[in-house]
């Protein structure tokens, strides 16, 4: 028998199609280098590791926002038809209600995840050198997330959205000197109107994403560069006692698992408690009883309200918002204050300040809701 007819061991044939495709792409894009980097990276494994997932969860909800937001964009019409288009999405278009509901719930879950991420970073002291820029970029992302939430809330233009935005705009309007001027620019006039929807829409889908995405990329690059920070209790341990797991594929697959849980929580909320649409906004109608901003603005709103009560007139509101602004400035500047890597007096003060801020947010939010009744 001719030897040339007998089957020869052929390395290329034994490889699967997926391997061949992978190698083809790898030769051109250098995937192996990226994977080698990911495999080299490790994530600390300790009793506080649970808190490492919240940054990833925030990112997951952001992806959901982008995906569901693009789908809503197909049918949403800003301007005079805003309400009618959201009504069609909610009541006429197949599964439109689900996409809208997922978008609204995911927005709230994203804000919640970002807050948890911020406080866990704070209490693990992950803002210390060399991670200061991570902290500041994170603060910027939080502010933008809140702005996303605020600008998106008005877009359905039902009565709740209208009056909540009207009330919510009282917060920046109370800023000393520039408050009214800035608020009028955002609002497109002295009252919330169709112009405001147009402006909020532009802000929501173009301006904010343009600012958000580069900062997000910067933030993620910093996480990749510096890795996950160790909490002080773990830092105190000798290196031999510290445990780590490879980022890829171990932590990555655990992260994906958490994303799946988040997806299910979102799906349960969006399906079983679908976001409702109120009656169309009527600026001449009285505001619905107990109108208030979303929960993540409630503490600020209540601070203003309380100061307004204690110091009647514009002075009270100005004082309230000034104090609030000061607290945010201190919060942002904390990496410059708590610089020591080992525990100490400044570290303790920073921790107490964190407890104070968290407690303040919770107390003022609950107070705000109780005050509505």
């Amino acid at each position: 028998m001719d030897a040339s007819w007998s089957p020869k061991p052929d390395v290329a044939r034994s490889r699967s199609l997926a391997t061949v495709i992978y190698e083809w792409v790898d030769e051109r894009l250098g995937l192996e280098e990226i994977l080698a980097l990911a495999r080299k990276k490790t994530v600390p494994d300790h009793k506080y590791s649970f808190w490492y997932y919240w940054g990833g969860l925030s990112l997951f909800f952001f992806f959901v926002q982008v995906f569901s937001g693009v789908l809503l964009l197909v049918y949403y019409r800003p301007g005079p038809e805003a309400y009618e288009s959201v009504r069609q999405i909610t009541y006429d278009i197949q599964f439109g209600w689900l996409i809208r509901s997922a978008h609204s719930w995911s927005a709230n879950l994203m804000v919640f995840a970002v807050f948890v991420h911020m406080f866990s970073v704070y209490f693990m002291k992950a803002y210390r050198k060399p991670r200061e820029f991570g902290w500041w970029s994170g603060m910027a992302l939080l502010a933008l997330t809140l702005l996303f939430g605020f600008s998106g809330y008005l877009l359905p233009m039902d009565d709740l959205a209208y009056f909540a935005t009207k009330v919510g705009l009282e917060i920046p309007a109370a800023l000393p000197l520039v408050g009214t001027f800035l608020t009028d620019i955002v609002r497109g006039g002295p009252e919330v109107s169709e112009t405001t929807i147009q402006r909020f829409f532009a802000l929501h889908v173009v301006i904010l994403p343009l600012i958000y995405l580069p900062i997000l990329a910067f933030h993620l690059w910093l996480v990749q560069k510096h890795g996950n920070a160790l909490p002080p209790s773990e830092e105190a341990k000798p290196e031999s006692e510290r445990r780590t797991i490879p980022f890829f594929p171990d932590f990555f697959s655990l992260d994906l698992g958490m994303w799946l849980i988040a997806l299910n929580v979102l799906s349960i909320l969006a399906s079983l408690y679908p976001w409702q649409l109120g009656p169309q906004a009527d600026p001449l109608a009285p505001a619905p009883v107990g109108i208030h901003p979303e929960w993540y603005f409630m503490s600020q709103f209540q601070v203003l309200k309380v100061f307004g009560r204690w110091f009647p007139g514009a002075a009270g509101e100005a004082l309230g918002i000034s104090l609030f602004t000061l607290a945010i400035v201190i919060w942002a500047a904390i990496p410059l204050f708590d610089t020591r890597t080992a525990g100490g007096r400044r570290a303790q003060i920073a921790t107490y300040f964190g407890y104070f801020a968290l407690l303040g947010m919770i107390v003022f939010s609950i107070w705000g809701y109780l005050d509505l009744k």
Binding site: W97, S253, I268
Partner: protein, 483 residues
Amino acid sequence: MNYPFWDVPLIGSGWVIGIIAIIHVMVSHFAVGGGFYLPMAEAKALREGREDWLRALRDHARFFIILTGVFGAMSGVGIWFAIGLAHPESTSTLIHNFVFGWAIEWVFFIVELTAAAVYYYGWDKLPRRTHLIVGWIYAFCAWMSLVIINGILTFMLTPGASWLGAAGTGQEAAYFWQAFFNPTYFPSLVLRTLVCISMAGVYALITASRIDPLAEPQLKDELIRWSAKWLLPSFILVPFCFFWYLASVPESQRALLKLGISTIGQGTFTQVTRAATVVVMTSATILAFVYFSAWRNSRHFNLGRALCVLFLAFAATASAEHSREMLRKPFVIGEHMYSNGIRKQEVERFNREGYLTNSMWLKTDAPPVSLRRVAFGQPVEPETAANLARGELMFRGQCLACHTVNGYRPIARLLQGRDRQAIMAFLKTLHENKPDSPYRSYMPPLVGTADEIEALADYLDAILNHNVKRRSDHLAQADRATF
């Protein structure tokens, strides 16, 4: 109107059954699936001479017997109590029809419990082969109890043409087997068996997650991966069985599933679609979660992650059971008995002779207790009090099975903003139950004479608008009976 009414404020009687039933389903499906898991795992451990596996399986058997033997049995009895109180008419129909079915189930149940006890307590005492046989006896009896109860459960959705033909003749029990092997029997049996196998894996992951990965890394890896595989069959086969099941359901009921596709509507009309969305999402992702968290990271698979798997299984089960229950609307026994206990055949008679005519629960000499709050201190004519008492009994008899006043599916919110005239117009729509009525596919027709329906309108007007005087001007007189 043979039985008194069970008024459960806020959540309603339906949710009392629902809460107990969902817990029971979670545990009882584990009782069946776990019945196969234990002897199969034990046989594997014996074949491979793995003492560490046997030790871990014994721990799992303890968890199994406590959960299924205590919570499973207790919640099963709890369902009996709850359905007897909330739906006495339908429970009575089921007992009359399936009494021997339940007797057979109880025989299997007793053998099941005995075998479970012998299996656990005889772990190191019985010869290995005998012990395994006891395990298989348990598994068979547990599955047989599912085989029996499945017939009764599916009967409620699709009683089948033969039984429906005999309904009301007194010869229903003669059609036992036709009713038992009804159109949805087999798809439901296969579906539930697959879910049982999954549940075995879900609960086994809980005990396996407790193994210390530093002390016994190999055992943890192997047990977690072996248990995770138990979720695979249902993941692959459930979608096909689900379509088989749906194909066996009458078109009128299938239509309920589509109601919520294009609109969220308000409240109940879209609940089946919304709950089914949760079933699809949780069922589609549970295996992926197990793959990423357990299969790929078995050593990091801790109790928290195991509870996440249980959470997904719970969400899928609860939503699926809720959807199945809602799919029966407006009936509690398909095409025979409406969800408020009124038989389809009785509608005309009640309309002609009156719904309250033969009720032993009507007390017209005292004002209804539920109205004291809205009309406290107001003088009310005795005949008005009697009229409102009739209205309240209409409400209790025909609305209370699905609605509460201020809690779940609250009448106060659903009818908010309607004056008496609007309430009456709505009741008229329910009473006429025309083919194009939007309520027809979900709600039973309102039965009773014109006067009874007027009384219900007065009662609802009093509840909603605190109006106990409008119908007659002479009611508001002093020194009369007061609430």
